[in-house]
């Protein structure tokens, strides 16, 4: 039972926002020693672990080519691609963004979209612009909602798209962990295929919620405008 303290170290470490690498290192040492390994064995366990989980880090080999393309405007082109859909409603635009983000992540372009690169400079202004075109000035509360949903479209798209790409960290973590720990042989490709049903569900569920956002905005903004019109009339 006492080895479970290692899990506690991880929880406390992450909860107090220590550097994750240190947390993991300390948790490994504590767990190993509590589990009755000698200090030498603990070191060997770290070494074996590193050697057997190298697959997790090999996606680094794709960085030079992605970096090269970004130098030549890959992110700018991704922006051009979405800006073609500027005439859509807020909900439809965000659902489209969700789809593009998911497809991008599914082919390994996890860095092409993102909160800093596309959500703030592009998705938010376009989503807000679409609502403003219809209803005029947005109240703060509505603006917050549109922005929160823009952020969510990026997260959901990334999380449930990237696992379809076989070189992503989580897929390689699964194969690395299982193949070394249990001595089996799992192929990244099979895991990636099993990520597809959830990816479809994620697009359906979140896409539907984004489309419904249009109706919510309509209701909220019409009442807000009716109220302000009433105030104007009283004046």
């Amino acid at each position: 039972m006492i080895v479970l303290l290692g899990v506690l170290v991880v929880v406390i470490g992450f909860a107090t926002k220590r550097n994750p690498l240190l947390v993991v290192g300390v948790a490994g040492i504590v767990t190993g020693l509590l589990g009755g390994l000698s200090p030498g064995k603990v070191l060997a366990a770290f070494g074996d672990g590193f050697a057997n989980s190298r697959a997790v880090t090999i996606f680094a080999i794709t960085l030079p080519v992605i970096g090269l393309l970004e130098r030549y405007g890959l992110q700018e082109q991704a922006r051009n691609l979405i800006s073609r859909f500027a005439r859509l409603t807020t909900g439809r635009f965000l659902a489209l963004y969700l789809g593009l983000r998911q497809i991008g992540a599914a082919v390994g372009l996890t860095n092409v979209f993102g909160h800093a690169q596309t959500v703030r400079p592009l998705a938010v202004p376009m989503a807000e612009g679409a609502a403003e075109r219809r209803y005029g000035q947005l109240p703060d509360r509505t603006r917050e909602k549109v922005r929160s949903f823009s952020a969510s479209a990026d997260n959901v798209g990334l999380f449930f798209g990237e696992d379809v790409f076989l070189a992503v960290g989580s897929i390689l973590l699964i194969t690395g962990f299982v193949n070394t720990t249990y001595g089996t042989h799992l192929e990244p490709l099979h895991l990636a295929l099993w990520a597809i049903p959830t990816a479809v569900c994620a697009f359906t569920v979140h896409g539907w919620r984004l489309l419904r956002l249009d109706r919510q905005l309509e209701r909220e903004l019409l009442t807000a405008h009716a109220e302000s019109a009433a105030v104007e009339a009283v004046k």
Partner: protein
């Protein structure tokens, strides 16, 4: 036959080259620490070949891993000023090249898929061309190299130093986060050797009614979900829950399809990532970036989706994995 280890050497070698560039980069105030960190990873990648084959002791590598964790954890790494194009140049280049820019990027997954699926049919002198069991990983490596060639030709870029420098900048930008998945996998292995999974598993079987497959599926998925919320990272939850319930109960006892159980289990964890402030870079940082008054705005927008997808994952696993 092309062996997986060759590819690991290529990755290790490129880390070493990039580490050498980092040390000579005077714009980085922590250039020696940064160079040492990536140099150790690179050297570790190469040395690991003999550790994995049990021809070299693992202890020195373990010491190096802890040294890497300390270098990054105590703030000895940093980043230099990337040498890149200006935003104007990039806009002009994007306008000129258009969607052709996506071609090299798409080459990587296409080649990787072809290798993973087709490699079994290609052989050279009776031996398979790609090492058996490593087709996907080798496909990724081959895909990256092919994509680089395609990219250089398409962009008419003659200097090999350009992609190397770009890759180095991206490594520096990702920093220690690059090593975290590998460290977590290592931690999972240590948990396993020390019997953590067995203990959690004992607790779980104590709670679990015998021979109830569906309850076991729910325990695994909800366990991944909750552990991820606590730790802020599905990668940290995965080894513990898999050693406790996923492997011994769902795969061992109920004879589940390992690929389906584990892939869907990980995705159940991702549902937790959507709603935890611990996953700050996805949920709290965007709130700040978008100047939201409510820092939990994105989490609130994601909460119903996360709940629905957790249910979807449970259903998918229960229906298709057994």
């Amino acid at each position: 036959m092309i062996k997986a280890e060759w590819f690991y050497w290529l990755v290790g070698l490129s880390f070493l080259v990039m580490a050498a560039l980092m040390v000579t980069d005077r714009s980085n105030p922590k250039r020696f620490g940064t160079g040492a960190f990536w140099g150790l990873i690179g050297a570790g990648f190469v040395y690991s070949s003999w550790v994995a084959a049990e021809q070299a002791p693992a202890e020195p590598l373990g010491a190096a891993v802890l040294l890497m964790a300390c270098l990054a954890g105590f703030g000895f790494t940093g980043r230099g000023t990337p040498r890149t194009t200006t935003p104007e140049q990039r806009t002009a280049s994007a306008a000129k090249l258009g969607n052709r820019l996506f071609v090299p990027a798409l080459t990587i997954p296409v080649v990787a898929m072809i290798c993973a699926i087709g490699a079994k049919y290609i052989s050279l002198g009776g031996e398979p061309l790609l090492q058996e069991g490593s087709e996907t990983i080798l496909g990724l490596g081959i895909g990256a190299v092919v994509a680089l060639v395609v990219g250089m030709v398409l962009l008419r870029e003659k200097r090999v130093s350009v992609p190397v420098q770009s890759g180095r900048s991206m490594l520096e930008a990702m920093g220690w986060a690059m090593l975290l998945p590998q460290m977590l996998a290592t931690l999972g292995a240590i948990f396993q050797v020390s019997g953590v999974g067995d203990q959690v598993g004992r607790l779980a079987t104590f709670v679990l009614p015998e021979d109830s497959l569906y309850i076991a599926v729910v325990v695994y998925c909800v366990g991944m979900f909750l552990f991820t919320i606590i730790m802020g990272n599905a990668f940290a939850a995965f080894p513990v829950m898999t050693a406790a319930v996923g492997w011994p109960v769902l795969i061992g006892h109920f004879d589940g399809n390992p690929a389906a159980v584990l892939a869907v289990g990980m995705l159940a964890g991702f549902c937790g990532t959507l709603i935890t402030p611990m996953a700050a870079n996805f949920n709290i940082v965007p709130a700040a970036l978008l100047e939201l008054k409510d820092q939990y705005g994105p989490i609130k927008a994601q909460l119903p989706t996360a709940g629905a997808l957790l249910v979807c994952n449970i259903v998918i696993m229960a229906l298709f994995a057994f």
